[in-house]
């Protein structure tokens, strides 16, 4: 067995799992903390990925075959045909900003309504984004897709070893986002969100502007998803509307959160690794068992098993436990009642 090949594979696996962990953190903000039923993750996934890919695309290079044939990623843009060639992290920031802006618009329209309307809206957005990029050829080459999306510091390392650099980049971004979400979730802000999840009426009667907080949560979670989309674009380096199939861009992420533990950020990351492990691992099964449909079935079996054995997910929701205050008076200790 080729040890180097195995390690290469595991690094590639970890990159994808960590990118999915970012989406799962975003979904945890929406669903785990606030109870927002976002079933259109694919929409923010695609928006983030396309934004980063378009902004960082370099000028067309006639030496490259695809650019020679198609004229570059931005060939159909009148003004931008020469390529914007933005810095990698600027692309990530822009991906987050675009997703945040779209979430702000959708959210301010739908979040005041019943929860069901938000779900329908997110589903609609996901499909609209996909159809937009499929049909509006000027925007991102339609079904031909975007190719040769640049690597961050791609000149530094030979192509076959590039994953070893990219895994560090993804790990750093994941860590930053994890700390940011964890801080927010365990603060009074996160407490208001969980209160909204439990009972909006009580939360409003406790003086909190419920629609305001829901909007913040929706925008914040969407921005995290945008970052995930951007990292994904620079990893796979090819995007087409087919990439954002609801199965691998929405359903799998829900599976990750449910398996890992909704409302628990560590659980979200763990769930991403477990579910992606099942998805990626089953491709090595013999014969019909490595069919995508069978592999998907395995994720379904995993969800059902977890829901039966550990309904809260592998880790369950985190709960703050406060130490009992020591008895104030010595006399009270003497009674032995406490």
């Amino acid at each position: 067995m080729d040890i180097g090949g195995v390690i290469d594979y595991l690094v590639g696996f970890a990159i994808m799992a960590m990118i999915y962990a970012i989406f799962t953190l975003g979904l945890n903000v929406h669903w785990g903390f606030t109870g927002l039923f976002n079933i259109g993750i694919a929409g923010f996934f695609a928006l983030g990925a396309y934004t980063a890919a378009l902004l960082t695309s370099p000028p067309p290079d006639p030496e490259q075959f695809e650019d020679f044939v198609f004229g570059g990623n931005l060939a159909h843009h009148d003004v931008l045909a020469w390529g914007i060639d933005a810095w990698f992290f600027l692309g990530i920031a822009a991906a987050a900003a675009v997703c945040g802006l779209v979430a702000l618009i959708i959210g301010s329209i739908t979040l005041r309504l019943n929860d069901d309307y938000l779900s329908i809206a997110t589903l609609g957005i996901a499909e609209s984004v996909r159809l937009f990029f499929l049909n509006e050829k000027w925007a991102a080459n339609g079904s031909k897709g975007l190719y040769r999306i640049p690597k961050f510091l791609g000149d530094l390392i030979p192509a076959e070893n590039y994953d070893y650099l990219y895994i560090v980049v993804v790990l750093i971004v994941l860590l930053i986002l994890f700390v940011a979400v964890q801080r927010a979730a365990r603060s009074p802000w996160g407490r208001v969100l969980r209160a909204i999840r439990e009972d909006e009426v009580t939360t409003a009667a406790s003086g909190k502007n419920v629609s305001h907080f829901k909007l913040q949560s929706f925008v914040f979670g969407a921005m995290i998803m945008g970052v995930g989309g951007a990292l994904f674009a620079h990893h796979v380096r090819f995007l087409s509307p087919l990439t954002f199939d609801p199965l691998l861009a929405t359903f799998v992420i829900w599976a990750m959160l449910m398996v890992g533990g909704s409302g628990n950020n560590v659980g979200a990351v763990l769930g991403a690794f477990v579910v992606w492990g099942v998805w990626a691992g089953t491709q090595f099964l013999p014969g019909v068992f490595s069919d995508p449909s069978f592999r998907l079935l395995m994720i379904g079996v995993l969800i059902v098993t977890i829901m039966l054995l550990r309904p809260g997910g592998l880790l369950g929701e985190w709960r703050r436990i406060v130490a009992r205050r020591p008895a104030p008076a010595a006399g009270r200790d003497a009674t032995g009642s406490d």
Binding site: R183, P188, W189, R191, R194, A204, S206, G207, F220, V322
Partner: protein
Amino acid sequence: MTDSSPILQVRNVTKDFGGVRAVDRCTLDVMPGTITGLIGPNGAGKTTLFNLAAGDLSPTSGQILFDGRVISGLRPHQTFARGLMRTFQIPRELRRMTVLENLMLVPARQSGERLWSTWLTPWKVARQERQIQARAIDVLELVNLAHLANDLAGNLSGGQKKLLELARTLMAQPKMVLLDEPGAGINRTLLRDLSANIVRASVERDVTFFIIEHDMRFVMAMCDPVIVMANGGVIAEGPPTTIQRDPRVLEAYLGGYVNGPA
């Protein structure tokens, strides 16, 4: 206190639900510093009136003033900000949050409720959290729930949930509290604690209470004045002893059989 103006004024308020008129040209005043009772048969419109005052519903017509300013049509968090807080007849605790968290949610203007503050000034947030937590534990000790601070609120008994509702109002430091049947379903001992806490809050913190209650012993012992509603309107108002003997009240409660068939 005799020359002060009412803290809550309900002016000719009507609320229709489709064809049902739940509150019908209702007018009443609640004076500051009082523990005012609101009684009446089931379906009289008492809870609807609370929902209208707290902003959970908007009146079909009429006005509600709090502290001299119109509050009808405001949303619940806005009436809360003016100093008006309500509890629910059927406790609406935050089930999958601890008892302590249920209380720590309540204080207004927490710096940690701003997302960026949780990242940029975590020490300020942490300091405020310690203060709020200490206050929440004080309140829990006051209502004898301190030993349950870390339990999920959904696991409390019915009576304990009632106490938690009261505890939430003590966390908020409001000017006025609308209590919707605080005594329903809780035992005599707890009810005594509850009454004591209400009286203490009323005297020490200068909170006005407006209480819907069916337990007449509780109402007669605690409330003065007592307002009686029936069919969406006020039919009587006065000190409890007078109300108890008022024939209109007896008729509303007993459905017109006071003078009975001979």
